[in-house]
C-alpha cells in the first residue's frame, strides 16, 4: 500500500559537509517500508525544482513511527531539503518500489556500498541483523568512499557486528581503490560464489561494474538503481533501464525496458544493461 501524506520533520542532522539525515514522523511508511523501498518527496511549492525527489529508506523506528533518509547535497533539490527545519511538513509518497530479496537459507551475504549507496544497504543490514535469520558473522559489508572524511554510519556498522571492510579512492582509510576493486580482490576470501547473496548500491558507474562482474562470474547480486523519477508510481515510463530476462522462459534474452520505480529499484545485476 502506497501513501501520500504530509509528514512532519522530526529532526535534521548534518553528518558531513554535504550529507544530511532527516527523520520524519510517518507511521505508514515506518510500518510498511522494507529494505530497498524508497520515498518520493516533494521538495518545494515552487515550480523549480518541479518534480519530487526519490530517497531510499535509510532507517525506520517502528516504536517511534519514524523513518529516516540519508542524502547528499548534489543540486538545488537536495540543497533545499538540507535547509528544512525541524517541525516543517513535507509531502511524502511511500513506501515505493520493490525490496531486496531476503534469503531464508544460511549463506554468505555481501553488501557492497559506494558513497550514498550506504543508504538502502544500512537499512538492509539492520534488517538482516534484527531478523536474526542470518548469523551476523555471515554478513560482510564492503564500503567505499572517495576519502576518509566521507564515511558515515561506521559506529552503527560496528554495533551491528557485521564484518566491515572499508576502502577509499585516495587511500586515506582502509584499502586504496574503488569498492568494486575491493570486491574483486576479496572475492575468494569472502567466499563469494554461486550460493552467495550480494546486495549493492552506489553510483551509476559502480552499478555498471557490479553488473558486469555478476555476469562474468554468474553471481546473484541485487542492485539498487537510481535515475530521474517523474512519478515514482509506474505511470510515466520515464525511469526505465534496459532489461534482459535471465531465465528459461520464452522471454529470456529479449531486451525490454523496465521501470525502475515499480519493477525496481532492486534488480538482478545479471538482468540489467547499464551505460
Amino acid at each position: 500500500m502506497v501513501f501520500q501524506k504530509k509528514v512532519k520533520l522530526i529532526s535534521s542532522e548534518k553528518l558531513t559537509s554535504d550529507l544530511f539525515r532527516l527523520r520524519f514522523f510517518c507511521p505508514e511508511v515506518a510500518k510498511g517500508a522494507k529494505p530497498g523501498n524508497f520515498a518520493h518527496i516533494r521538495i518545494s511549492q515552487n515550480t523549480t525544482p518541479l518534480l519530487r525527489r526519490a530517497f531510499s529508506i535509510f532507517d525506520v523506528d517502528l516504536k517511534k513511527k519514524t523513518f529516516d533518509i540519508l542524502f547528499k547535497v548534489v543540486g538545488l533539490g537536495t540543497k533545499i531539503l538540507s535547509e528544512k527545519k525541524k517541525g516543517e511538513s513535507l509531502d511524502v509518497l511511500g513506501p515505493l518500489g520493490n525490496s531486496f530479496l531476503i534469503s531464508s537459507k544460511e549463506q554468505n551475504l555481501v553488501l557492497v556500498a559506494g558513497g550514498m549507496g550506504i543508504a538502502p544497504l544500512m537499512f538492509l543490514a539492520s534488517y538482516l541483523v534484527k531478523s536474526e535469520k542470518i548469523k551476523r558473522e555471515k554478513i560482510s559489508f564492503l564500503y567505499g568512499e572517495k576519502t576518509k572524511n566521507n564515511f558515515v554510519c561506521l559506529g552503527q556498522l560496528k554495533k551491528l557486528g557485521v564484518k566491515t571492510v572499508l576502502t577509499t579512492e585516495d587511500g586515506t582509510k582502509g584499502f586504496k581503490g574503488k569498492v568494486t576493486d575491493l570486491f574483486l580482490k576479496r572475492r575468494i576470501k569472502l567466499g563469494i560464489g554461486k550460493n552467495c547473496f550480494i546486495y549493492s548500491c552506489g553510483p551509476q558507474k559502480m552499478m555498471k561494474k557490479m553488473s558486469e562482474l555478476s555476469k562474468k562470474y554468474d553471481l546473484f547480486c541485487q542492485l539498487s538503481l537510481e535515475t530521474h523519477m517523474p512519478c515514482g508510481l509506474g505511470a510515466c515510463f520515464g525511469c526505465v533501464v534496459k532489461y534482459i530476462k535471465n531465465d528459461t522462459t520464452p522471454l529470456a534474452g529479449q531486451a525490454t525496458y523496465k521501470r525502475i520505480c515499480v519493477d525496481g529499484p532492486i534488480f538482478d545485476a545479471r538482468e540489467v544493461e547499464l551505460d
Partner: protein, 311 residues
C-alpha cells in the same frame, strides 16, 4: 442567498457524453489509472485519459527519457505502451469499474494503424471516447507529422471518424504556425472536440559532459513553463472552432483551471502536475466547487469562454 455545495452543477456535456466535472487527467501522465488508484478514489475524476496505445506494444526510446527544466520537464518516452490487445485484456477491465469517463488515447505511425486500433476498440467495452493523438513529438513516424499539416490531420481524423461511433477528441500539437488552422481541419473531419496542447519540442544539454540530457536528444516540454503558450492557443482555437475545446498545459491548481475555462476550454486536463502532487486533479475539483460557491455560480459551464476583453 448562498449556494449549497451540493447544488453546484459541475457537469459538462460534450456531444452526448456527460462529464461529472471539468477535470480530466492527461494521457501519459496517469498510466492506466491503476497506478494512482491507491492514492485516491478515481470515481471522483471527470475522466481518465489513458497512456497512448498503439497497434503493437512499443518499448519506447532509450533512457534517459526525462529531465527537469525551469518550471518544466522534458520527456522523450516515445509512446512506450503495451499495445492495444493487452490494453483491452489487462487494463480496460480495471478502468471499466469506475464511474468516470474513460477516454482511450490512440496513436499510430500510419492512418491504417490508427484504424486497426480503433477497430479493436469498437469491440471493447467500457470506452466512452477516443482521444486521437496526432501530436506526439517523440516518435519518428506518425505522431506530430499528422498534426502539423491541416490536410494530413483532416485525412487521419476523417478516416477514423468513418471507422467508429465513439465520440472523438483530437489532440493537437503546439509546434505549428497556426494551430487554429489544424483545429478547423479536424472539426471539418468530424472530430467532436479538440484537446490542446501536447508538448513543445525542447532540448537540454549537460554542459559538463557535453551530451544531451535525453538519449533521444529532443523531447517534449510540459509543466507550468508552457502554460502561457497553452492558454494563448486554447483562446485562439476556442474562437476559431465551434466544437468544444479541452485545455491542457501546465495546469497545477484551481486558478490555472479557471484561466483555461475563461479562455474557452470546456474541460481541462492535468498532466505533469499528477507527478508533483497526485491529488492535483482532486484539489482542482474541490477548488472549482468552492469557487462557484464563493462566487454564487450555479453552473460551472457558465464560466466557459467568459474572458473579459476591453474595459
Amino acid at each position: 442567498m448562498q449556494e449549497r455545495l451540493s447544488l453546484i452543477d459541475l457537469k459538462v456535456k460534450i456531444g452526448k457524453i456527460i462529464f461529472k466535472n471539468s477535470v480530466l487527467v492527461a494521457s501519459g501522465t496517469f498510466g492506466y489509472g491503476e497506478e494512482y488508484s491507491e492514492l485516491f478514489d478515481l470515481n471522483r475524476l471527470g475522466g481518465i485519459i489513458t497512456k497512448s496505445v498503439t497497434l503493437n506494444p512499443r518499448e519506447g526510446n532509450p533512457p534517459p527519457r526525462t529531465c527537469e527544466t525551469p518550471s518544466g520537464m522534458l520527456n522523450s518516452i516515445g509512446l512506450a505502451n503495451i499495445g492495444i490487445e493487452k490494453f483491452i485484456q489487462e487494463k480496460l477491465p480495471f478502468l471499466r469499474k469506475f464511474n468516470t469517463r474513460i477516454i482511450v488515447n490512440v496513436a499510430g505511425s500510419t492512418v491504417d494503424e490508427y484504424l486497426q486500433v480503433v477497430e479493436k476498440l469498437n469491440r471493447a467495452k467500457g470506452v466512452d471516447m477516443l482521444e486521437i493523438n496526432i501530436s506526439c513529438p517523440n516518435v519518428v513516424e506518425g505522431g506530430m507529422v499528422f498534426g502539423s499539416d491541416p490536410e494530413c490531420a483532416f485525412r487521419c481524423v476523417k478516416s477514423i471518424r468513418k471507422a467508429t461511433d465513439y465520440p472523438l477528441v483530437t489532440k493537437l500539437t503546439p509546434n505549428v504556425r497556426d494551430i487554429g488552422e489544424i483545429a478547423l481541419a479536424v472539426e471539418d473531419a468530424g472530430s467532436d472536440c479538440v484537446s490542446l496542447i501536447n508538448t513543445l519540442v525542447g532540448m537540454a544539454i549537460d554542459s559538463k559532459t557535453k551530451k544531451p540530457l535525453l538519449a533521444n536528444i529532443t523531447g517534449g516540454l510540459s509543466g507550468p513553463a508552457i502554460k502561457p503558450v497553452a492558454l494563448a492557443m486554447v483562446w485562439k482555437v476556442a474562437q476559431k472552432v465551434k466544437i468544444p475545446v479541452v485545455g491542457i498545459g501546465g495546469i497545477t491548481n484551481t486558478e490555472d483551471a479557471l484561466e483555461f475555462l475563461l479562455a474557452g476550454a470546456s474541460l481541462i486536463q492535468v498532466g505533469t502536475s499528477n507527478f508533483i502532487d497526485p491529488q492535483t486533479a482532486i484539489k482542482i475539483i474541490e477548488g472549482l466547487k468552492n469557487y462557484c460557491k464563493g462566487n454564487k455560480i450555479s453552473k460551472i459551464k457558465s464560466l466557459i469562454g467568459k474572458l473579459k476583453i476591453g474595459d
